[in-house]
Amino acid sequence: MQRFFTWLKGRFKSSRKYLVLKQYSLFADLSDFELYLLYELTHTRCFEAGELIYEEGYPLEVIYFVHSGDIKLKGLYGSTTDKQVGPGEYLGIFDMYHGKKRSSTAIAQSDASLHAISRTDMISFIESRPRAGVKILSSIASDFCRFVFEVAKDNEHKLD
């Protein structure tokens, strides 16, 4: 009987693979259950070093989260310098709210593993679970502020 209940409990308990999403600042505050739901919508993609992930001007349908490896971003918002993105960072969130086209070109610098979530699934998740949505959008706002300050600081240095 004890074994049956353990088995039944195991059936209700899913494997905790979804915790891998905790490494991303966007999802750090989500509960286990919210992470589980989000993980169901996530795809894992592997890129070889030098492989093109997406090109500037492509339609934006997928948001990538870097699980491992390094990604080089070229021409980010008209910038002439390349930007490097590493584990825990993401690609495409700002573009999602800006014209729905890729504003830069992303190339894997080393062998990389990325988590991909469809823009449609992400928006639908945010809308259907407002509490989780607020947490995600707060993180996006916070990251956006940091990005704006970084750009402002860069421009200041250039002017000096």
Binding site: F12, S14, E55, P59, R129
Partner: protein
């Protein structure tokens, strides 16, 4: 340029395996198709239950038990009545005595026309209106006489479909339970280059097929309830059966609503009802169509299928010629789905600079 023989041989073998798989599984394609339709209809409820912290398999189980409960209730309450109505309708339409011009002439409404034709013959010698009228009746009777035979012929296929109906929920159970895994596996097959495109196409299929099927199901239920109520108010016999038939037929654009109306009017006609009763039946069905076209369809189905009316008409006609009623039912959504996919594919292939 050197040829990668290993890759070439692997791809060749893969194609052979795929073709062999298609041949081996060809008998279950119809099962899969029906299960996919069933899955699309149930999926939002399963997803909702999952969002309430129920494991997906448990959510599907609860939904199945609820459906079985509703079916048991429906069977115990409505099926005996429906069978009785079906038998009565078949008797009215298929009785040998009823299927003769002589019997029809006894119907008051027909009799008045026949007498009028007889009077015309008396006034205009050589006109032969009564004889012509009897000939028309004979032809109509011959046509209508084929209807019950058609229904009876199809009953055997309906019985053989019971096994089909039994298998579909089972397949659908796995499709619903493992929806995310299946989706991930399908998208996992695409290369990185086509990954985003594959997501866009899958999303388009999901939204077009899912929305259309759920909207259609709602419309069938709404029209069935409205038609049954309207027909019972105007006193047509077998209102539930005619209402459900009209609801299902309503899926076929243009021809479906006509079928429902004709069935209601014919029932009154063969029961010997007065012309006024036929008019009431027709008006009731027309009213149902007005509500459906102006309220139910725009709200529920809306712009899920955005095709020009002429194209819809031609598609239904082509479907009918190609494969009868079944193809009349599926031709419009199928053509629309293919059209949407091709247009989405073309636009995105251009935007992703693949073509």
């Amino acid at each position: 340029m050197s040829i990668n023989w290993t890759k070439l041989i692997f791809n060749f073998l893969l194609i052979i395996v795929l073709i062999a798989g298609l041949i081996f599984y060809r008998w279950v394609f119809s099962y899969m198709l029906a299960a996919i339709v069933f899955t699309y209809i149930l999926d939002p409820t399963v997803t909702w239950l999952e969002s309430k912290r129920l494991p997906r398999w448990f959510a599907v189980l609860i939904l199945y038990l609820s459906i079985i409960g509703i079916l048991v209730w429906f069977t115990s309450r409505l099926i005996p009545e429906l069978i009785a109505q079906g038998n009565s309708l078949l008797t009215i339409l298929g009785h040998e005595g009823a299927m003769s011009a002589d019997y029809l002439i006894q119907i008051p409404f027909i009799n008045s026309i026949f007498e009028y034709a007889g009077n015309l013959d008396a006034q205009i010698p050589g006109l032969g209106a009564a004889t012509r009228f009897t000939e028309i009746l004979d032809n109509a009777v011959e046509f209508i006489a084929r209807l019950p035979k058609f229904l009876l012929d199809n009953y055997s296929s309906i019985i053989s479909a019971v096994s089909f109906i039994g298998m579909v929920p089972l397949i659908s159970f796995f499709l619903l339970k493992d929806k995310h895994k299946i989706r991930k596996s399908l998208l996992g097959l695409s290369s990185n280059r086509y990954f985003e495109l594959a997501i866009i196409l899958l999303g388009k299929i999901d939204s077009t097929v899912g929305t259309y099927l759920r909207a259609m199901l709602f419309e069938v239920i709404a029209v069935s309830i409205m038609a049954s109520t309207a027909l019972s108010i105007v006193g047509v016999s077998n209102p539930v059966l005619i209402g459900i038939s009209a609801g299902v037929a309503n899926i076929i654009p243009y021809f479906g609503p006509f079928f429902g109306g004709a069935l209601a009017v014919l029932t009154v006609f063969f029961e010997g009802g007065a012309f006024l009763n036929m008019l009431y039946a027709a008006l009731a069905m027309w009213l149902v169509q007005v509500i459906d076209n102006n309220i139910v369809y725009p709200v529920v189905v809306g712009t899920t299928i955005n095709m020009h009316p002429l194209l819809v008409l031609l598609t239904v006609l082509a479907g009918g010629w190609y494969g009868g009623i079944f193809w009349m039912l599926v031709s419009v959504p199928l053509v629309y789905l293919i059209y949407s996919l091709v247009s989405v594919l073309y636009v995105n292939l251009k935007e992703y600079r693949i073509i």
